[in-house]
Subunit: 368 residues, 2 copies
């Protein structure tokens, strides 16, 4: 067998981003038993740190034992019961995925759509709510990784709550790099992934539930369709009861713990500013190369920039050359944007001027 | 914050077992993009090595991105459709869990039970099949971690196939330490976990599907209720198509890759013999201390030994002393066996005479 020897590349795609070296070291600490008091203390600290990045005091704030997509499924299967109606905002791959997951959970879905690259129009949400006052949840992707749109949540969250519905928010590409206003907007279900702005490998899905959401899962009429993702049971394992559910992914929890400590040390506010500054430098530099961003301010997602591929350029060849000759990964367009855009991530530890300059230099060299 | 500093303990409980140092190093290799050709090569090699430990040529043999319990849920939600009838063998916690998962998948469950610590009686299976010829699957736990029973599968698998049903096998605590006869018995769905006899941290669930099972998932009438665990989609990501599904847990895949390389180097047959020899040494030593195993041969699971707690002994205090003073973890009894038995794992790299002697010495010191 060949030696497995993954090169250290600069991951400026839609995720995973580079793992901080401190986090890589944490991964390799000795595995403890999942009920060992030493490990339980690490679990407790991890939930406390997760509350910090989620801007919340929510009791139920834990990492789900799966990737960001498992976070989406956890939020959905816990927030609806079969036969419930759900309003889902779709404006990209991950909104569409939420529709699929919600339908599989036995709910009836009403879609609110917007063109790719544009935000959801709150007027459309208002209409959907007026037509469907019996809907139980509204699902929305805060940071749409396929388009680079940051969804402004304030107005929509207010309408959802006024209608007595619960809001489910996908913060996979925002948590740790963009403000996620969990408590300020009383968001009910918010989930994320570890491999984006947290600079931790993929494999865990942080999730937090507001008080109303917590009450809902405690008083469901039907069992959650997923045993593995049933938060009613999982919270008894992560809570003081320590009731055995499944074996937590021990070493990945070490990694998340370290990634969150790093964020606490930097300060969330400083980190968010750093992401914004890195994107601004990137946009200026891309403009100098004649490249235009897809999304207009103020809807431009700081952690992921979509940019149009110039006319006559073989986009896949550019990405291949970037990876092979410069060790830099950027992302292709998905769905409607396939072949038309590049997706450039400035996430977590990667979001800095040095990486912007490194990418721009390479791009300039390739594009000529 | 305190420094996170997990001690290296000897994990002789029901899992996780100790992670091999080579596997810990693999965990800390730089994170690659999930579509990077270098990573794709590691995925391919990992599936090839998984086929080796599963004793199979099955095309669809992959690690599911969750823990062993996610493996169970994956097998069940992919093997039944709502309204299907399922026969589930239960003789411990994990059999009961399979019942719960199967009911949540919308199937009607017929139980075949045996007392804790005893194997399922094939006569009972025969009767259940005769009474329920319309059942679609039979689920059984090969290695029941709560009782230490190894289920002999030959006779039961033959009956299931003769009746035209599919067999779903839980090999969480057997894979890599006990023979899992996937191809010999044409087992349809077999799943496992990484943290037992593979000596890899918890977080992945290897699974393999036989030809009939693969055909079934390709021709379902209904969508799999889980998007995250839908093998019809996941196989397109792990297969040559590389169709994006979710971001694989990159560093955990490195770890599994290394853990499987270690098994290949030792040889599966030698490894299985080593597990058996370690248990024999353990049983002799326990007998000398006056401790009696719960399960009789030939149903005794080599990787996990259940032993009765002697009369008048505070079982929790003994476990605490073992952990605090000797750095050795063993497991408590669950369910029916709570307070009555200890569970001693000899799994993966841990299954050797030196660990047996270390445990026996400590036990002798504590029990006096």
């Amino acid at each position: 067998m060949n030696q497995r020897n993954p090169k250290s590349k600069l991951l400026l795609g839609p995720g995973p981003s580079n793992t901080d070296p401190r986090v890589l070291r944490a991964l390799s600490e000795p595995t403890l038993g999942h009920l060992d008091p030493e490990f339980v203390a690490i679990m407790d600290e991890t939930t406390e740190l997760l509350r910090y990045v989620f801007n919340t005091k929510n009791k139920l704030t834990i990492p789900v034992s799966g990737t960001g997509s498992a976070g989406m499924e956890t939020a959905i299967v816990n927030s609806v019961e079969p036969g419930d109606k759900a309003i889902i905002c779709t404006a990209g791959v991950f909104g569409e995925r939420m529709v699929d997951v919600t339908e599989r959970a036995g709910a009836q879905v009403v879609k609110v759509e917007s063109p790719w690259g544009e935000p959801i129009d709150p007027e459309d949400v208002k209409k959907a709510i007026r037509k469907n006052p019996d809907a139980k949840i509204l699902g929305i992707v805060h940071a749409e990784t396929s388009t680079g749109v940051l969804q402004p949540l304030d107005e929509i969250a207010a309408m959802v709550h006024e209608a007595g519905m619960r809001i489910v928010v996908d913060a996979v590409t925002s948590l740790g790099g963009v403000d996620v206003p969990t408590d300020r907007l009383q968001l009910d279900f918010v989930y994320s992934g570890t491999q984006k702005c947290l600079s931790c490998p993929p494999g865990l899905a942080p999730i937090t539930l507001g008080e109303k959401a917590f009450e809902f899962i405690q008083n469901r009429k039907t069992k959650c369709q997923s045993w593995y993702l049933d938060l009613g049971m999982i919270q008894r394992y992560w809570g003081s009861e320590r009731f055995y559910h499944h074996t937590a992914p021990i070493n990945m929890i070490y990694a998340l713990n370290e990634a969150l400590r790093i964020i606490k040390e930097e300060g969330l506010e400083a980190r968010i500013k750093r992401h914004k500054a890195a994107q601004e430098a990137l946009i200026s530099g891309l403009a100098a190369l004649g490249l235009k961003p897809v999304v207009n301010e103020p809807y431009r997602l700081p952690s992921l920039t979509t940019v149009y591929v110039p006319e006559g350029i073989n986009e896949a060849a550019v990405r291949k050359q970037l990876l092979d000759e410069f060790g830099i990964e950027i992302g292709a367009g998905l769905g409607v944007f396939k072949g038309k855009v590049w997706r450039i991530g400035m996430m977590g530890t990667n979001a800095n001027r040095a990486n912007v300059i490194r990418l721009l230099g390479a791009l300039k060299d390739i594009l000529g």
